[in-house]
C-alpha cells in the first residue's frame, strides 16, 4: 500500500451478536477511512456500537463481515494500535512506571531502555515523582494519565481511545482535554477517539463521526475546520458553537430515539 493510502480503512464492517432473543446487530455496514495523522472523533448515544467498533479495530473482537485494516508503518516492529480504556485498565499490581513500560516490556525492550522511555513520558505529564507508586495510591485523573502515556510509550501506529475521560469529574476532564491537545500537537499520531461528549468531539477532532443507535450506523461525518493548535479557549469561538449546534440537532433526535427503544 502506498503511503498516501488511508491509515485506517473500514469497508462495510458489520458486527452481529447472537443473543437468546435472536441476532442483534451492534454495528451495521460501517465504512470509513482515516488519514495518517488525523484525529477522528466518534460520538453517538450509548449503545450505538462505537465501543464495539473500537474493539474490533483493536483486534479484541471479531468482525462478523466486512473488512477492517490498519496500514502498517515503515518499521514492522511498531505495534499497529494501543488502546486507552475508559476504566483505565492500568494494572493495580504494577507500579506507575512498570505500567507505562508494559507494552515495551512485552515486546522485549531491555529493562533500561524501557524505563528511560517510560520516565520520559511520565515527565511530560508531570507524574515523574509518582513513578514508584501503585495505582491505588494515586487519583483517578492521574490513573488516566498513566493509561494514556502507557499507550503513547508503546509508540503505536494508531492510538485508540475509548471514552478515556468518561469516568472523570468535570474539572479533571478539562485539564486532561488540554493535556491531550498538547500531546497530540507534539506527536501527531493517528487517533480514533470515542466519546459521548459532543463538546469533547468538536474540540479534539479533525472530523466528527455521528453514529445512530441500534443498529450502529454512520449518520453523518462533520469536517471541523477549527485552527490548530486548539485549547479550551477554542470552545468560546462562534465557529465552535455553530459546529456544536449543527451536530447536536442530529444527535439529540438520535438520543431520544435510542431512549425510546430501550426496554
Amino acid at each position: 500500500m502506498a503511503p498516501s493510502d488511508p491509515k485506517i480503512s473500514a469497508r462495510n464492517v458489520t458486527k452481529v451478536y447472537q443473543t437468546a432473543s435472536g441476532p442483534m446487530t451492534a454495528v451495521d455496514d460501517f465504512s470509513l477511512d482515516v488519514a495518517e495523522g488525523e484525529f477522528l472523533a466518534i460520538v453517538g448515544p450509548s449503545g450505538c456500537g462505537k465501543s464495539t467498533f473500537l474493539r474490533m479495530l483493536a483486534g479484541l473482537e471479531d468482525i462478523s463481515s466486512g473488512q477492517l485494516t490498519i496500514r502498517p508503518g515503515a518499521d514492522p516492529s511498531t505495534p499497529l494500535n494501543s488502546v486507552v480504556f475508559q476504566e483505565y485498565a492500568i494494572f493495580p499490581w504494577k507500579t506507575v512506571i512498570q505500567n507505562v513500560a508494559f507494552g515495551l516490556q512485552m515486546r522485549g525492550v531491555s529493562e533500561r531502555a524501557r524505563m528511560d522511555v517510560a520516565r520520559g513520558w511520565l515527565d511530560r505529564v508531570g507524574l515523574a515523582k509518582f513513578a514508584d507508586h501503585y495505582p491505588h495510591q494515586i487519583s483517578g485523573g492521574m490513573k488516566q494519565r498513566v493509561s494514556i502515556v502507557r499507550a503513547l510509550a508503546n509508540d503505536p501506529e494508531v492510538l485508540l481511545m475509548d471514552e478515556p475521560l468518561g469516568a472523570l469529574d468535570a474539572q479533571t476532564r478539562v485539564v486532561l482535554q488540554e493535556e491531550l491537545l498538547r500531546i497530540w500537537e507534539e506527536t501527531r499520531k493517528t487517533v480514533v477517539y470515542i466519546t459521548h461528549s459532543l463538546d469533547e468531539a468538536v474540540l479534539l477532532g479533525d472530523r466528527v463521526v455521528l453514529m445512530s443507535a441500534q443498529p450502529g450506523r454512520i449518520l453523518d461525518v462533520y469536517q471541523i475546520d477549527l485552527d490548530r493548535p486548539r485549547s479550551i479557549d477554542t470552545m468560546n469561538l462562534p465557529a465552535f458553537a455553530e459546529y456544536r449546534a449543527a451536530i447536536w440537532d442530529r444527535l439529540s433526535a438520535e438520543v431520544t430515539r435510542a431512549m425510546e427503544m430501550q426496554p
Binding site: A58, L60, N81, S82, V83, A89, I90, F91, Q105
Partner: protein, 339 residues
Amino acid sequence: MTQDRRAILGFLLAGVALHVGLALTGLWYAWAWPAIGASFVLLILICERIGRHVPVRARKTYERTLALGFPVLLLAVWELAGALELISPIWFPPPSAIGRALWDVSVNYDRFSETSLLGRPWLIPQEYAQGGLAAVGTLLSESHLLATLGRVFAGFLLGAIPGILLGVVMGLNQTVRLMLDTTLAAIYVLPKIAIFPVVMLMFADPFGEGPKIVVVALSVFILMTINTMTGVRNIDPVYLMAGRNYGAGPLQMLRHVILPGAMPVIFAGLRIALGTAMIVIISVEFLRAKQGVGYMTFYHWEVLVPEKMYAGLVVVMILGVTLTGLLHWLQKRLMPWKR
C-alpha cells in the same frame, strides 16, 4: 470523666463484694463458675470505660494489652481453678503442668518409641563428629515435629502447585471447566480423611509416608483448584484485554496479568488450605502413624498421660500459628501493591 471513674470503681466493688459475699456465706464453691462468669462481664465493662479515655498515641499499647492480656488471664484462671479443684487437675491439668510436660517431651528421648519431639538438636555437633551427616539425619529422623512438618510441607507443595495450575486452566478454558467442575465440587465436600484408606491402597507400603503426604496433597489440591479458578474468573476482563492489546503472549499473560490478578484469592485459598492440611495430617497421625505430633498427642491419651497430650495440642497450635505467619510474610513479599 468523673462519671466513668465512678462507674469503674462501682464495677470493681461489685466484683469484690460478689466473691467476698459468696465466701462469707460459704456458697463460693457451689457458685464459683457463675461468679467467675460475672467477673468477666464486669471486667469487660471496666475495660470499655478505660478504653474511652486512652489517648490516641497509647491506643496501640492499649489494644495489644487487651489482645494479649486476656489469654494470659484465661490461663491464670485455669491454673487457679485447678489449684482450687474446681476442675479435675488430672484430666484438665493446669497450664503449669502442661508447660512442664512440654519441657519434658522437648528435652527427653522416649526410649520405648525411640522418638523425641524436636529430635534433640543439641546433640547435632556430637553426632556430626562421630558419624557425619548420616548420623545427624538419623538423629533428626526421631523427631515428631520434623515428621509432621515434613509431611505438611511436602503435601502442601505437591497439592498447591498443580492445584494452582489446574485452577488457571479451568478459569480460562470453558471446556475444561465444564468437564471438571461438578467432579471437583463432589470431591470437595468429601472429608479427605475418609479417603485415606483408598489412598493407602494405592501404595506398595500403605503404612509409609506416601499415603500420608498424598492425602494432605489431595485436600490442598482440590481447595487450590477451586480457589484459583474463582480468582482467575474474577479478574476484570479489561485487564485481559489490556494485556492482549499490549502484545502479551500466553506465558506473559500468565505471569503479568493472570497470576497477579488472581493472587488475592489464591492467598485466601492457601490460608484455608493450610488449616485443612493441619486437620488432615493430625487426623492421619491419630489413625495410623508411628511418629508425628498427632501420633504423640494420641499416644499420650491412650497411655493416660494427659499433660503430655495437652503438650501435643500446644505444639499443634504453635505449628499452625507459625505456618500462618509464614504464609502472611510470603503474601507481603509477593503482593507489595496491597500495602
